[in-house]
């Protein structure tokens, strides 16, 4: 029941992403081609193309960040049999790092939603400098937040999979296989978000270049 519900959310969210992409890609492709072809002149067109591409990346990053947050937040598993552990249920809030992941990626999702208007302003006014500069600065801060959440959870997921003999920490994924799968998926999605955010900063910086 729990599982089918989260699958539904994922599907809906992927549809949304496609809806957002479909009409935009049509305008973005020629704009980007123009950006590559004309370097010196037609600067407004090139900047607009970059801004449109930035918006597409932003929506994709929003989708992957939302997916990561939802996947991690709905991760729980109840075991149907006895083990050597006292509790028979694993949930994300058993591990403080995963709680930080959910909170951190939630902030990233909220930021990405709030930043869409700025991205649209950059499309409408390709020569505006202030919104682009704000995007670069806050994107950089959000990169640090997202990478911190992704990296710390990756360390814990690795530990859950492999354990550590020297510290006497046992792997828990033998018992909680489903839990580990979901958490690993969320971590991968958060790293995808980080890569998209880095691309966005690189694009915005190169758009800022030409005046």
């Amino acid at each position: 029941m729990e599982k089918s519900e989260s699958t539904k959310i994922d599907v809906v969210e992927t549809n949304k992403e496609k809806k957002g992409k479909a009409p935009l890609l049509g305008t973005a492709a020629p704009a980007i081609a123009a950006a590559v072809a004309h370097d010196g002149h037609a600067k407004g067109g090139a900047k607009r193309g970059i801004a449109i591409f930035d918006l597409i990346l932003r929506l994709a990053a929003f989708a992957s960040a939302l997916g990561a947050t939802v996947a991690m937040a709905t991760t729980e598993e109840t075991l149907p049999f006895f083990t050597q552990f006292f509790q028979f249920e694993a949930s994300y809030d058993d591990l403080p790092t995963f709680t930080f992941f959910v909170v951190g990626m939630g902030i990233v999702v909220a930021y990405l939603v709030l930043s869409v208007p700025f991205s649209i302003v950059c499309i409408v006014r390709p020569h505006a400098v202030v919104p682009r500069l704000l995007l670069i600065i806050f994107d950089t801060v959000i990169i640090a937040l997202a990478t911190g959440a992704a990296g710390s959870s990756a360390a814990i997921v690795y530990l859950a999979h492999n354990g550590n003999q020297d510290a006497n920490w046992l792997a828990i994924c033998q018992q909680f296989g489903d839990f580990c799968q979901r958490a690993s998926g969320a971590v991968v999605a958060s790293f995808v978000t980080v890569v998209l955010l880095i691309l966005m900063v690189v694009l915005s910086a190169s758009a800022l270049r030409r005046h």
Copy 2:
């Protein structure tokens, strides 16, 4: 013996930083003041001031990244008494995450050294766009690397301090107090590096703005 050696390294490195800072600060202070005072005109001076400040931040980031790497790489502790563990020695390479930390922060240190010439080019030629753009792009990537290393090690250090009852992972800092102290210090230094890197990107982006 091991401890006194590493202390020596820290001291030498702090001196180096001071040496790098002392002559620069003298030129930087008026340049930054000029940057604040004249907004519209004297753009070259403002940009040069930002470039000098960028170099100072870069040297500080280099110092903290080097400190973090050396502190973590030399972290080991041998216990003088028996415990319930089989091994009586803790070293950074017992935990894969700490190995990643040392490698990752080592790359950050190497990058910061290699980026100094580009920062100097920005001081000499304040209107040059390409080196500044390259700095923004690679700084952003390095932010992700440094934050990933810092975040993942922070998660493990937290676990070592507090343990996790739900996963049956015991805190190891009662046994290896010195080891945990050093590792925590290294993590804090790496977060300082991240903050300095973010400041550098913000500065470079704002310098790119005015043409």
